[in-house]
């Protein structure tokens, strides 16, 4: 069972309440595909990913970024049992999508960096710590059903 302090809980809820999904989602996913190009292996049918400019203007990437971010909504609403909440999603990523779980961390790092750019000084060390704790649990839960 994960223990959340009041600060951590309210920080995570506040971040997601204030976040512009249409901005952050595409920015995080496209950044991941640019900075860690091997992650493009999962998006073979997304069209033109030949260079950074193409990736950043790719509409399928943008849409998928939004989808992934909204996927985290359920974790935010069920912070006390993310593991169970994500059991099905974990099976999906393992059995159907065949995503190497190490990639979850790469996207998580890019999301952290995009959030830092959007929030500026409001992204304090304490806020970063809370957000990274949340991400670590999401990532662990998503990797749980792999075998």
């Amino acid at each position: 069972m994960v223990e959340w302090t009041d600060f951590e809980r309210s920080t995570i809820e506040s971040i997601f309440a204030k976040m512009d999904y249409e901005d952050v989602g595409p920015a995080a996913l496209s950044r991941c595909l640019v900075v860690y190009p091997w992650t493009q292996r999962y998006f073979g049918n997304f069209g033109n990913l030949y260079n950074a400019a193409a990736i950043m203007s790719n509409k399928m990437v943008a849409q998928h970024g939004i989808t992934v971010l909204h996927g985290m909504d359920r974790a935010v609403k069920n912070m006390d049992d993310i593991k169970a909440t994500y059991a099905e999603l974990s099976v999906l990523h393992s059995e159907k999508l065949h995503v190497d779980p190490d990639n979850f961390k790469l996207l998580g790092d890019c999301l952290t960096i995009v959030l830092a750019a959007r929030m500026g000084t409001a992204f304090t060390a304490e806020v970063q710590a809370a957000f990274q704790k949340f991400l670590a649990i999401v990532i662990s839960s998503l990797g749980r059903q792999y075998h």
Binding site: S30, R31, V34, V35, A52, I55, M56, D109, T112, I113, V114, A116, A117, R118, M119, G120, T121, F123, A125, E126, Q128, A129, Q132
Partner: protein
């Protein structure tokens, strides 16, 4: 993952922007690392004050950042250029190299915060590649 000419140019270009806020970047990166990754405090137990923004933290932040600039100057041969620094880390400081990645992550977060427009994905890629090479060069003399 060798640095291309384009990577080197991007790194040097961005470093020149960083120079105007060196102290801030250094202090913020180090403070942040100590809070977000508390296990890193184990290397600084001898400091009187580990609080974010304290004098030892700020001073040392500058030392870290100057190290990064020094590495950028030696970007064409990091392994040889950083030999002395590697010996320092390997034989004296004995910092576990896993912490290099932690420090790098914190620095990238701070760069995104302070330079939201300039820290584009392409610059992020080049800087991340560069810092990874610096970490490798620092770990050179470990064993």
């Amino acid at each position: 993952m060798t640095l291309s000419a384009k990577d080197k140019a991007a790194v040097k270009g961005f470093m020149s922007k960083m120079k105007s806020r060196s102290e801030e970047i250094g202090a913020e990166t180090l403070s942040r690392m100590l809070v977000v990754y508390p296990q890193t405090k184990s290397y600084f137990a001898h400091w009187p004050d580990l609080a974010p923004g304290s004098a030892p933290v700020r001073e040392h932040g500058v030392i870290f950042i100057n190290g990064v600039y020094e590495a950028a100057d030696k970007i064409d041969d990091l392994k040889n250029g950083l030999l002395t620094l590697s010996e320092l880390h390997a034989f004296m400081l004995r910092v576990d190299p896993v912490n290099f990645k932690i420090f790098i992550h914190c620095m990238l977060v701070v760069l995104a915060m302070l330079f939201p427009e300039d820290f584009t994905p392409q610059v992020h890629l080049a800087v991340d590649k560069f810092l990874a090479q610096v970490a490798l060069a620092l770990a050179e003399k470990y064993r």
